[in-house]
Symmetry: C2
Subunit: 392 residues, 2 copies
């Protein structure tokens, strides 16, 4: 019950035990096409270029940024937590000139501050995290894409922590690239990064295409743009692999593709709205439960993610001892924190297969017992009762 | 029965259906430590730094090269096929100055030619493929590490296509980094890249460590060397994640780790020498079988890989029609080829779980039937009979 990775859905686990296929076997390329179709509604998009990057969520982020931004390009990072820092980190390494517009941990960045920063810095790309699990905040994104388009800027959004749990709306946001990961609200294992690209992002990146020697073909022309600084993360070549050209690039990670496909099938069978409502109920229950125990929830209530809740560690309680006791007595993992929040908050996730009533209630019951043993005083049973009531 | 990806071992598939664990759960970090120990004998090394890169084999290659070589560094690529071209491609993108020493497709590069090229170009790194499936050639590597050490050069070896099927001997070769993939002779899915680093390579790369903001710790100092150009492929941070520091980097791809672990357990339970002998028997059987059918085997016999065999497509036969008929009538996939060999050879693999007597014999029987239907004349049954005899 941490902020991810979490337990996978049993159907996803079973799907990953299927035997492999050759990478250009018609059955395999058929599955690849299915995956493209399955992830479009999950990203809230009609984008043709919707597929997987073979690596963890972080691989998707790096692929998006290195393919969009060339060395020397100015990129504005909207930063309100650790994963905003990660964006600056990746961008600096690929030689971009990084500007930031920031909010303190526990808040989000107002749209007018971003507008001002775009006007001030004139970036080629704006990069933003949707839900940053380090602070449990979700950045409002409606209107940001329109600002970017008006300024001739590409918008990249990292939706790793929200996809499948909160509404991701690539088209409504007018985002140019959105990436995710399986290991949070999609209920799968880390190791595959779903990605979607707008037509204009795909065109820009195809303009940087430099097909590697050894697999060049007469029907695939190089672009005039700067060659992408990574071979593995070259989205131009990866699109040529997922598209009709079927240009050989990496060998698709078959088992992870089976897992990603099954995650999407489980999500769509439940229905996106029902799924978001389930995550919201779980978040509401955790919040109500810990507040009834006299604990303080971290961060601005208006912008908190539904699928992970930060809880201030009360004075006199050793946060790591509590986490260890939760793990050792109840086999339940809850999260610690990073950076300025390290040692200050716990993070309880309710993501994907874990965003279930019984798991939330059992977790709060366990937390009650552990906190009692640590000498923290509160009305016994209050957490579980409040959560049960708040669920519905 | 292509040159990889191939069918996975059933034990590997079952292992990947296990539920996930938190990334710092003691059970999970215990598995990570086990994986490090299991891959040492498979790489033929005592190297402490033996672990997984989360991505396909190509991810392991890029991680090795971007972590060893900084922009402007001279790198000598030993090139005798498509995957040598891939090394030059990755290196150019990361800003290295690439020199090459080459052999025509179907041959390998003599050690004295490499020695001469090292003396001429004074590289920081020598990069070489062990077995290049595009040509079916295996480059002899004994003595190359000694040459490199004498010249103050690091040696990188891509053993993707040989690991688990032919002897990989990182220590005997005195190689500084060797990488692999699961999807060939290790009998697993693509998506995890085992890697091993010598102590001096690890020290060099730790000297380039620049821990990302947001997870910096007082006990982990940055190095004086040039920052590594990729975050995802930064082996300094990945070593800090796999080592005692357990510095958070990516979220380890749990299911792929289970798969990689089970691949290694299957390999070591069979025994490396027995496994290499089994691959050699399979290669011998394919070779004898196709020769008995009057076909010509591609490439210099002295240096051919045991686990993949190139076969010249005879005059008057349409290679793609044969591959399609093999797939449609017999559900057996054999490989086509790249670059200068495209349309000239088929490639029959016998890797990992596919390097078995019955699979080789059934494949040759199917090939006989398909070639007969295409009008190619040869003594019926000769291929299967010769292969059966050659196996033992």
């Amino acid at each position: 019950m941490g902020p991810g990775p979490v337990n996978a859905h049993p159907r996803v686990l079973r799907a990953m035990a299927a035997d492999l296929l050759g990478q250009f076997d018609p059955e395999m390329t058929g599955y690849m096409n299915e995956v493209m179709a399955l992830y479009r509604p999950i990203f809230g998009t009609d984008n043709r270029w919707t597929f997987l990057v073979d690596g963890t969520a972080r691989a998707g982020i790096e692929a998006a940024l290195v393919s969009l931004a060339a060395p020397g390009d100015r990129v504005l990072v909207v930063k309100f937590g650790r994963f905003g820092l990660l964006l600056t980190e990746i961008l600096e390494r690929l030689g971009a000139v990084v500007e930031t517009v920031e909010a303190p941990w526990g808040e989000t960045v107002p749209l007018d501050a971003i507008a001002e920063a775009i006007a001030r810095t004139g970036p080629k790309v704006v990069a933003c995290v949707h839900g940053d699990t380090s602070t449990t905040m979700a950045q409002p994104l409606d209107g940001l894409g329109a600002l970017c388009r008006a300024a001739g800027t590409y918008l990249y959004v990292d939706a790793t922590a929200t996809i499948g749990g909160m509404a991701v709306a690539a088209d409504r946001w007018e985002a140019d690239i959105v990436t995710g990961g399986l290991q949070k609200c999609l209920g799968g294992p880390s190791g595959s990064a779903p990605i979607t690209l707008s037509a204009r992002a795909a065109e820009h990146i195809a303009g940087r295409r430099h097909v590697e020697q050894g697999i060049r073909r007469a029907d695939i022309a190089d672009g005039a743009g700067a060659r992408i600084g990574s071979n593995y993360f070259d989205l131009a070549m990866i699109m040529d692999y997922w598209g009709e050209k079927r240009l050989n690039h990496h060998t698709e990670a078959t088992t992870m593709l089976y897992g990603a496909r099954e995650c999407a099938r489980v999500v769509l069978a439940e229905g996106l709205e029902r799924r978001f409502a389930r995550h919201a109920a779980a978040g509401r229950a955790v919040t109500a439960g810990v507040r009834a125990m006299g604990l303080t929830v971290f961060g601005d209530d208006r912008f908190r993610m539904t699928n992970v809740t930060g809880i201030l560690i009360p004075k006199g309680v050793d946060g790591e001892r509590v986490r260890t006791a939760m793990r050792e007595h109840f086999e339940i993992e809850i999260g610690s924190a990073f950076g300025p929040l390290q040692g200050r908050i716990w993070r309880i996730g309710a993501m994907g297969y874990n965003a279930m009533k019984h798991k939330v209630l059992l977790t709060l019951g366990a937390l009650e017992a552990v906190l009692r043993a640590e000498g923290y005083r509160f009305p016994a049973g209050a957490g579980v009762d409040a959560a049960l009531e708040a669920w519905s």
